[in-house]
């Protein structure tokens, strides 16, 4: 009885903390906290898409940084070279990414498990190599400078608080969209798919089509996030769009809990907050400064060991029930 109350309290507290966190940077007028929030938000948008792919469609992707990069580079090139304004550039970029995802996603339908992982890993590397090598288009390692801040018509998001609100809005929209998808009929079809593809197809679910749709959707979310990133930092280079970031995304999704819509957001938050926390502690305590990678790795392992179904499952686990969150197995 007390445990269930505790669990409910934790859930309520979680929501309260969430809203508090969201509001704090604005209340404190802290550009630093808002910047942290912006990066969490941008990462979360990608993570939510990836979580959808992994938790519901049961597909793993080790190359999602590529779609993030495609969004960033499209926005960068279209706004700096062709003078397009940010919103149409983002739409065009997302369309381009979606088409590429469609092309890349089709072969993945035949692959499973580790083969799928390898395929996504490979195209992630290939796309990053193209960013690096296609210098006439992407300016290679020098990167593209002077990307304007995001704007919708006369509304310019050129200060940190405005950019923060923009990212929050897009994140909210993404979560809303994904939530609706998950609870709708196609969404239920997806969940059935994840449990057993054979059973799902017997029930009339068009398995390949459903998987492809989810794949493309997750790529679209990543692309949108990438565009936001480009407009916020005003600079893109191939470096952030590689395997390292794909792995970070994976960690965010799994640690947060792939089977829920909020899980990846929690994962993104934990990841960034932990890394910043270790940095700041490292400034004060020299020992932490030299060992922060080690500590980060240890915390990661600990979280995974103690919260096997992700952070978001914590309230349910305290209640002692079988977690509703899906197992995000490959």
């Amino acid at each position: 009885m007390t445990l269930s109350l505790l669990a409910r309290a934790i859930r309520a507290a979680g929501l309260a903390i969430f809203f508090a966190f969201v509001a704090i940077p604005l209340l404190l007028h802290s550009a630093y906290l808002a910047t942290v929030g912006i990066f969490i938000g941008i990462h979360a948008i990608v993570a939510v898409g990836l979580g959808l792919l992994m938790g519901y469609a049961g597909q793993v992707s080790l190359g999602h940084a590529a779609f993030y990069g495609l969004g960033a580079y499209s926005s960068a090139i279209l706004t700096t070279r062709l003078g397009l304004s940010p919103l149409p550039a983002m739409v065009a970029g997302t369309a381009i990414t979606a088409i590429i995802a469609l092309i890349l996603g089709t072969p993945t339908l035949r692959l499973h498990g580790h083969y799928l992982a390898m395929f996504t890993l490979a195209f992630g590397i290939i796309i990053q190599t193209i960013f690096n090598q296609a210098e006439r288009l992407t300016r290679g390692t020098s990167g593209i400078v002077g990307i304007p801040p995001f704007s919708i018509g006369p509304l310019r998001f050129d200060t940190v608080p405005k950019a923060y609100l923009l990212v929050l809005a897009v994140l909210a929209l993404s979560i809303f969209a994904v939530r609706n998808l998950v609870n709708s009929r196609p969404g239920r079809a997806l969940r059935a798919l994840h449990e057993s593809e054979v059973a799902a197809s017997v029930c009339g679910v068009d398995v390949p089509r459903a998987k492809l749709e989810v794949f493309v959707l997750s790529a679209i979310l990543a692309s949108v996030a990438g565009s936001l990133y480009a407009h916020f930092v005003n600079y893109v280079s191939p470096v952030p769009f590689g395997f390292g970031f794909s792995v970070q995304l994976l960690v965010m999704v799994v640690v947060g809990g792939a089977g829920s819509v909020w899980g990846p957001l929690a994962g993104a938050a934990l990841f960034t907050v932990l890394s910043q926390f270790l940095q700041k502690t490292g400034e004060r305590i020299a020992f932490v400064g030299t060992t922060d990678t080690i500590l980060f790795g240890m915390v990661l392992v600990a979280v995974v060991i103690f919260l096997q179904k992700g952070l978001v499952s914590l309230p349910s686990r305290l209640r002692g029930e079988a977690t509703p969150a899906e197992d995000s197995g490959i």
Partner: protein, 291 residues
């Protein structure tokens, strides 16, 4: 340099680089067969072997001792890692285990940087630096050691799995864990053993490589990645396939670097690998899986 000379050189380079990918892939396969997961810290075992040997050599240990101690130390580290991560997560999902290995790889990287600094290290090659002339080019004698030891390891591992009781026991666990346990095989012990063997393999590779490729604390990731690609290309679960996959990737990289573009060589190798997987989804030597 004549065209024939060039071709020969690309062949040699491709093989010597590829066999290393294959060796790491083999290690990944061994752990995969026993646990069903991809050990993302496999590359770190290579790195640790090389850097520990370099540190020991710099402290005055004779080379043969440095190599043996480095391999032993890395194996111990792998066992500790297994105990603290994999063992704790018995029954967890595959992806969770993989994340745990990622966490472990971070710890190992951080530890290496702490102990040995951010720069690349090296130590003297086993039999000197004088290149062996072949055609219009040449090969470093240490590379011959790499190729030789890698090939020997592959053969030894194959023999181990096919003909020894322990080897067969590990394979039994991979095929059907429950049945294996019912036959009296301790799955946990087999997992530990597989970690130990794959770590020793990786560390040995790392020590032989370091005199020619140097070793830096962050280099593990590269080995993990290529090892994973090699093992999937070869057919996940098939050790010989992993080696074949590795050599294939190495060859394609080498030849495309020589004839097409060095910048795109890695991407080209990957595209070819993807095409192979498209045509043959179970990998080069894998068996077609029943749906």
């Amino acid at each position: 340099m004549t065209l024939a000379d060039q071709l020969l050189q690309y062949l040699i380079t491709g093989f010597s680089v590829g066999i290393v990918y294959g060796l790491v892939g083999l290690g990944i396969t061994i752990v995969f067969n026993a646990t069903g997961i991809i050990n993302f810290a496999q590359g770190e075992f290579v790195m640790l072997g090389g850097m520990a040997a370099a540190a020991l050599a710099a402290n005055g240990a004779p080379l043969w001792l440095a190599v043996i101690l480095a391999v032993a130390a890395t194996t111990l580290v792998a066992l500790a890692m297994e105990r603290l991560t994999i063992y704790q997560l018995r029954g967890a999902s595959v992806i969770t285990l993989i994340i745990a290995t990622i966490g472990a790889s971070l710890v190992l990287q951080g530890g290496a940087k702490l102990l040995w600094g951010p720069d690349a290290v090296t130590f003297p090659p086993f039999s000197g630096d004088t290149p062996i002339r072949i055609g219009g080019g040449g090969i470093a004698p240490q590379r011959l050691w790499v190729m030789g030891l890698a090939t020997l390891s592959v053969v030894a591992v194959q023999l181990f799995f096919r003909f020894t009781l322990t080897g067969k026991a590990i394979r039994a666990c991979a095929i059907n864990r429950r049945a294996a346990r019912l036959s009296g095989i301790s799955a946990d012990r087999m997992v530990r053993l597989s970690f130990a063997v794959s770590a020793a393999l990786a560390a040995l590779g790392g020590t032989v490589l370091t005199p020619v490729t140097l070793m830096q604390y962050a280099q593990g990731t590269h080995y993990t990645l290529t090892g994973f690609l090699a093992s999937v290309l070869g057919g996940l679960g098939n050790g010989l396939g992993a080696v074949l996959g590795g050599v294939t990737i190495g060859m394609i990289e080498s030849f495309s670097s020589g004839f097409i573009s060095s910048g795109y060589s890695k991407a080209i190798a990957l595209v070819v690998a993807l095409i192979v997987l498209w045509w043959r989804p179970q990998g080069l030597l894998g068996r077609r899986q029943l749906q």
